[in-house]
């Protein structure tokens, strides 16, 4: 029988690791991620999880040790955020290029400066072009389940890429909710044999050189381009694999999460808001309130942000006349939110042009409430009627 427990998001993440049974877990503290590592370490200390605990001296080594372990064949797990992710960037950049299916949570935190230890998605958004798969969770159940699924997605032979399971610091990391933990046998059946280093291994029984100098004269430069092209193909393949794995998980557990994007009350909607992460709950409530008032509004939740689910997005956007995008981080180069900019790049693929509005809120641990979401809905409605906000709208601003 599945077990129903009440846990915060960080514990939910640790339970995801417990179900997935990685061989190695690396831990290093940073707010608001720390209790993921603490809980995993406790599972290992109590013998619940038979993994090697890597209690290392910094995030750089966290990911470096996991890379070494993965090249030897290990399933690996860790979590970080904010400055930890920034410090880890050097090996982080390299993980997808090595095609290592490492699973790492980003417990999203805003970037300093100003000095800040609270939620915000600036960390995950800043590394969006590095080549990790990014799945953003709405609630604690989705965190647990997505971590288990992340191994199967990353290790799929057509993918072979690392996966970030992202969830909001503070709002999910410390918020307690009921979570159903599936039976160990079901999780074991789902996980199957590991498939980590068939393509690149550090093993004296099959010696090979990993990552020789590659470039310049033939065949180096050409090989380099082939690696990059293959990596991009792996990313695109994951857009097929992620729904397959979600379907398989649903059939085994009954847990049903939209794999790429979720359309909420969208079919007959005239306008919509787009959300990512925990703000989606408030967004859905605001949509329900507006619907009760007769407004034809819907919501698009982004689960898979990397790779960008272009086809699913085009299909959803084709249903509406205007969209407001709510970001929990900033794109400094474009004076808008990063998610907004992704939608902007999607517009040429639509048959029609629809107006977009960028809203930024929930930075540094501030709350995105139903009222904020109602404001977003209002801007979308205005846009549908031709009154498009010309500049980015900053929510929770100091006036």
């Amino acid at each position: 029988m599945p077990k129903r427990i009440v846990v915060d998001g960080n514990e939910a993440a640790a339970y995801g690791a417990l179900l997935a049974k990685p061989d190695m877990c690396a831990v290093f503290p940073i707010t608001p991620q720390s209790s993921v590592g603490e809980k995993v370490a406790t599972f290992i200390a109590n013998g619940d999880l038979k993994a090697d605990l890597l209690d290392v001296e910094g995030e750089h080594s966290v990911l470096s040790m996991l890379q070494g372990g993965a090249l030897a064949g290990a399933r690996t797990f860790t979590a970080t955020c904010g400055q930890g992710l920034a410090f880890m960037f050097e090996p982080y950049f390299r993980s997808p290029n090595l095609r290592l299916p490492i699973v790492m949570c980003i417990v999203c935190r805003d970037g300093i400066t100003p000095q800040c230890v609270w939620g915000g998605q600036q960390d995950a958004m800043t590394v969006k072009e590095v080549g990790w798969i990014q799945m953003h969770c709405e609630n604690n159940q989705e965190i647990t389940d997505s971590i288990v699924m992340a191994y199967r997605i990353g290790e799929h032979s057509d993918v072979m890429l690392p996966v970030n399971v992202c969830f909001d610091g503070n709002f999910l990391s410390y918020a307690a909710e009921p979570v159903e933990i599936v039976d160990e046998e079901i999780a074991d059946k789902f996980m199957g044999e590991n498939n980590v280093n068939w393509h690149a291994a550090l093993d004296p029984e099959r010696p090979m050189a990993i990552d020789p100098l590659t470039g310049m004269t033939a065949p180096g430069g050409e090989a380099f381009a082939r690696y990059r092209e293959g990596q991009c193909k792996g990313m695109q393949n994951s857009l097929r694999v992620i729904p397959e794995i979600h379907k398989e998980w649903k059939e085994l557990t009954g847990h049903d999460f939209a794999p790429l994007i979720e359309e909420y009350r969208l079919d007959d909607a005239e306008h919509a808001i787009m959300t990512i992460g925990s703000m989606t709950g408030a967004g859905k409530d605001a949509v329900d309130v507006a619907r009760d008032k007769g407004k034809k509004v819907g919501l698009i939740k982004v689960k898979t942000f990397r790779p960008w689910p272009l086809k699913a997005m085009v299909s959803a956007l084709s249903k509406i006349k205007a969209l407001s995008v709510v970001d929990r981080s900033v794109n400094f180069g474009w004076n808008c939110g990063p998610l907004y900019q992704e939608v902007l790049a999607t517009l040429p693929f639509l048959d029609k042009k629809i107006p977009l509005v960028s809203l930024i809120g929930g930075l540094a641990g501030t709350d995105l409430t139903i009222d904020h979401m109602a404001e977003a809905i209002k801007t979308a409605e205005d846009a549908a009627q031709g009154k498009v906000a010309e500049e980015t709208i900053w929510l929770n601003k100091m006036y």
């Binding site: 470096s64 890379q67 070494g68 050097e90 020789p212």
Partner: protein, 450 residues
């Protein structure tokens, strides 16, 4: 391969010219008191040219054998002795001209040639030599111990001529063996194509480029997983000083502190030689490098070098040692201890490795620079064994040679003022005094202090 023979090793500086060896040889070989029958000759009265015993060296490729037209001389593959067959010899004496060492003689009383046969493995001359100027022993221990092991790097590494590091990595991997995962962080080691270029590699064990910053942690991850699944796989880092002492230091320190089972060799060429001779944390005071240039306003590097071996000792590693390739047997002995130690914890070898290109000295001086660094106490050789609680000098230098002998060899020091050389002398003196204090006090109080 790997078959080194005992030979007669002569130490002319110990010979007093007494002639007892000649008498013993004549007695043993001809039962005579006439030393004309001796196969060993003591050369005297040649002024400065030579003074001491001369005897057949039982060459590996003997010229006497090649020059003999009668097939009377053969190299015995079992004993290594060059044997003379009286029945085949025609006494032409061509062999005495063929030998470049004067090791085979014409005996006018017997009308034939004669040469040393090691008395069947128990040479009489050795027994009577009071000043021990002749010893019967094997000199080629490194060859004997390592010869049968495979060089796990294919020929054709692209190192500079005279490169010490190539010697080091070939010897190291040969000794460590094929059940190894090798990490070569950015620097000269992969720069000479150890990990390979464009899909080709000449390294016969699994090898990889870690980042300059994460060599110790990546390797520790490899070792951890193999241990987790019950496989004993050696992991080896061949890192430069940048990957150990500078940006590589955090992961190195963390891995050592956790006691990760890693064998970490720091090949210290005192700077970033692969990228064009920039300074590092181990660059000595006053050095010219391309980022500490010498001009009217700057006198070379302003600070002292970071002394990594002691820093690593204080991490409570299983084994820490300093070494040079110029003392090859010492290096292999330490490497063996480090390999064993790395099965239980962190093992760190700090190898002083001169760079002919970056330090500006002639390539044939690579070994001499190392000997002088040791002789001046610039680079003292020592080892620390945690379990045995032992700290000891392995090549103690009680009467160091003049600092100028070392500094004068290197172009990177050519500009040094008298004051700067004095600074060097003081740094070296402080360091050796500290090391001597540790050696005298022993490691126990040191550990208690930690």
């Amino acid at each position: 391969m790997g078959n080194a023979y005992n030979t007669l090793v002569v130490y002319p500086e110990k010979c007093n010219g007494c002639g007892e060896c000649e008498k013993a040889c004549a007695k043993a070989k001809a039962d005579s008191t006439d030393i004309v029958h001796s196969r060993i000759k003591v050369l005297k009265n040649l002024e400065d040219e030579y003074f001491g015993p001369v005897v057949c060296m039982q060459c590996g490729e003997p010229s006497c054998v090649k020059s003999c037209p009668a097939g009377a001389l053969t190299k015995n593959p079992e004993t290594g002795v060059v044997e003379w067959d009286e029945d085949k010899c025609v006494s032409c004496t061509i062999c005495t001209l063929g030998c470049p060492y004067g090791g085979i003689y014409y005996n006018p009383l017997m009308s034939n040639v004669m040469k040393c046969d090691h008395c069947g493995g128990d040479p009489e001359c050795v027994k009577v030599c009071e000043p021990k100027a002749i010893e019967y022993k094997t000199e080629a221990n490194v060859y004997k111990d390592q010869g049968e092991r495979e060089d796990l790097f294919a020929p054709g590494l692209a190192a500079c001529l005279g490169c010490n590091m190539e010697i080091l990595i070939r010897h190291t991997l040969r000794h460590v063996g094929p059940n190894t995962v090798l990490a070569a962080p950015p620097g000269c080691v992969p720069g000479i194509a150890v990990v390979g270029i464009n899909g080709f590699t000449g390294t016969k064990v699994p090898s990889f480029h870690p980042l300059l910053t994460n060599t110790a942690s990546m390797l520790a991850g490899v070792r951890r997983y193999y241990k987790h699944i019950g496989r004993d796989v050696q992991v080896l880092a061949l890192a430069g000083d940048g990957g150990a002492a500078d940006v590589g230091f955090q992961s190195l320190s963390g891995a050592a502190e956790r006691g990760e089972e890693v064998l970490f060799v720091c090949i210290d060429n005192e700077g970033y030689m692969n990228t064009g001779m920039q300074r590092s944390g181990t660059t000595p005071y006053g050095s010219w490098t391309s980022t500490t240039p010498v001009g009217s306003s700057l006198p070379g590097k302003s600070g002292d070098q970071k002394y990594m071996p002691l820093i690593m000792l204080m991490h409570n590693c299983e084994y820490v040692a300093t070494a040079v390739m110029a003392y090859m047997e010492d290096y292999h002995e330490k490497l063996e201890k480090a390999i064993q130690a790395s099965k239980k914890g962190f093992a760190y070898l700090h190898v002083f490795s001169p760079c002919t290109t970056g330090w500006r000295y002639p390539q044939e001086k690579t070994m001499e620079v190392q000997r002088q660094a040791v002789a001046t106490n610039t680079f003292p050789l020592w080892e620390y064994e945690r379990e045995a609680e032992k700290f000891a000098f392995t090549h103690p230098v009680d009467n160091p040679t003049s600092m100028e002998d070392y500094i004068g060899m290197l172009g990177k020091f050519r500009h040094l003022s008298k004051e700067q050389i004095d600074h060097h002398r003081n740094t070296v003196a402080t360091r050796i005094n500290l090391l001597k204090a540790i050696a005298e006090e022993g490691i126990k109080p040191l550990k208690a202090a930690v």
